[in-house]
């Protein structure tokens, strides 16, 4: 893997939605094998940014490249083929498909499906049940396993913890680290700010559509007042 080329790079990205821009001027580099945390209050524009990266909605201005290839003009399918995988907010399972069928949709190799089911024994037990009959945590495991078997280059993860009991979420979180260890670049949106910052190298705080902090995740973790100010959209919060 070529470190310099193998990055997800955003330059001056602005995303508009209905009335106007919901997030503006985001510049960011996600290198392979690292986690970048994106945190901020509700309605800050985190989901909108991820949706623009994966092609659910268009990027209004700015550029995005994956491994050097500009992607803002590409279709959703073409972006997926470049290895950009979006784990959507909520549980993006295909409810009528069984667990194995959900995985078959993205598996590069049939053997990968067995590997993924080994990581989640509870899924292995229910491999032929429709995904809609699984518990919330199990459904989120299906989504993670589906991402895993697609062998992604970059992962956009949107609030994996939503609606899950903390114990369940704590079981899923190590998967994120595991993805990173295997060289996947991850942009992690998470309400559990401290857990996200604990995994991340770089961190961004967005508030009301603007980046109010960008820098080392560790720094933010060690300075709660900095995080607090950034959440409130503090204009004087430092920008890297």
């Amino acid at each position: 893997m070529n470190g310099a080329v193998n990055t997800l790079e955003l330059t001056g990205v602005t995303v508009a939605r209905g009335a106007g821009p919901v997030i503006r001027d985001v510049s960011l580099t996600v290198p392979a094998g690292t986690v970048t945390a994106l945190v901020g209050p509700n309605g800050a524009g985190k989901t909108s940014l991820l949706e623009a990266l994966s092609g659910v909605i268009p990027v209004t201005s700015g550029s995005v490249t994956v491994g050097g290839t500009p992607i803002t003009k590409l279709s959703r399918v073409a972006r997926a083929r470049l290895g950009l995988v979006h784990i959507e907010q909520g549980r993006a399972i295909f409810p009528g498909l069984t667990v194995v069928e959900n995985l078959r949709l993205t598996a590069r190799e049939p053997a990968d499906i067995e590997g993924a089911l080994e990581m989640f024994p509870e899924l292995d037990k229910r491999r032929d049940s429709p995904a809609e009959l699984l518990s919330g945590g199990e459904q989120q495991m299906v989504v993670l396993a589906r991402a895993f078997v697609s062998r992604p280059a970059f992962l956009l993860i949107d609030e994996m913890s939503l609606g899950l009991a903390p114990v369940v979420f704590m079981r899923l979180l190590p998967m994120v680290r595991r993805f990173a260890e295997q060289g996947v670049g991850i942009l992690l949106v998470e309400q559990f700010t401290h857990l996200a910052l604990g995994l991340a190298r770089e961190a961004l705080v967005v508030s009301s559509g603007r980046v109010t902090y960008q820098g080392q995740a560790k720094e933010l973790l060690n300075a709660p007042e900095l995080l607090h100010a950034a959440y409130l959209g503090g204009a004087d919060a430092p920008r890297q």
Partner: protein
């Protein structure tokens, strides 16, 4: 009466195949395709013209008609996929009403409004059981209806294309995000249902009617058949089509009922709607 009922099997098989096509389209591409039978009619008219005016043998002519029916259908799919990709089922279906009217007018313009000189593709009795004749056409359409429903079921549950199609019908956006080529697959569904619909219309039409409007309106009994399966279940769509055909055939035998047979699909639809809403009515009444 039994003879009449069995004579209705050919029509029933036709309703069943078209009902299965309507069900597949409603499930997989979110459209109630009002132009389903009209597409078949148009492909069939082309085939008839190729035989009568261009002197082609019947089977190659039917093959060309089937390709044309599939292409027209694919074209509607491309149009809807391009301009109404995220629209609701109602707006998408409205496009097919326009296509229905367009195809009827186009066939009048191209082929005139006199009924076409159909030569039956299949004719004659297949066999006879205690004095009751079962025609080849009846056997053919019933077999095709069952085969189409079965193969659609197998494709949807066992093949990777089928799994992709189901994923696409459940969550179109997420499906694209996991790399499923939505446009291509949808157009393939349109083309396939268009081709299958044309094939059965070409083979059964000569025994039914040879009028463009009447053939296009076969979509009504087909919709009644699909409704029995709630536009979801393929097996019930087949049953619905066959039952409707047999009932119509039996009614045609009784002189008092022979006019009523034309209203049967309508009564069938109303009856099913009332039946399917019975719980709601009960709840609302409380």
């Amino acid at each position: 009466m039994l003879q009449g009922a069995l004579a209705g099997l050919a029509a029933g098989g036709l309703y069943a195949v078209l009902g299965v096509c309507l069900t597949l389209m409603s499930r997989l591409v979110r459209v109630v395709n009002f132009a389903q039978a009209a597409t078949g009619m148009f492909g069939t008219y082309v085939a008839v013209w190729l035989v009568s005016d261009a002197g082609l043998p019947i089977w190659p002519a039917v093959a060309v008609g089937v390709v044309i029916g599939g292409s027209i259908s694919a074209l509607i799919g491309i149009i809807i996929g391009t301009w109404l990709p995220e629209a609701d089922t109602g707006s998408r279906s409205a496009v097919t009403v326009a296509v229905l009217l367009f195809l009827i007018s186009l066939s009048f313009i191209l082929f005139g409004n006199r009924p076409q000189p159909f030569r039956p593709v299949l004719s004659g009795p297949a066999f006879q059981v205690s004095g009751v004749v079962i025609s080849q056409v009846a056997i053919f359409t019933v077999v095709v209806a069952v085969l189409v429903a079965l193969s659609a079921h197998v494709v949807l549950t066992k093949t990777s294309v089928g799994i992709r199609l189901r994923a696409l019908s459940e969550r179109p956006t997420t499906a694209e995000l996991v790399g499923i080529p939505a446009r291509t697959l949808s157009v393939a569904v349109w083309a396939t249902t268009g081709a299958v619909g044309t094939l059965v219309v070409a083979i059964v039409a000569p025994t039914q009617s040879n009028d463009a409007t009447a053939l296009s309106m076969l979509v009504v009994p087909a919709a009644a058949a699909a409704l029995l399966g709630g536009f979801r279940r393929l097996d019930l769509a087949v049953v619905g089509g066959l039952v409707l055909g047999v009932l119509q055939g039996a009614a045609a035998q009784l002189s008092q009922l022979s006019v009523a047979r034309h209203f049967l699909p309508f009564l069938f639809i109303v009856g099913l709607l009332v039946w399917s809403q019975r719980k709601e009515v009960w709840d609302a009444a409380r």
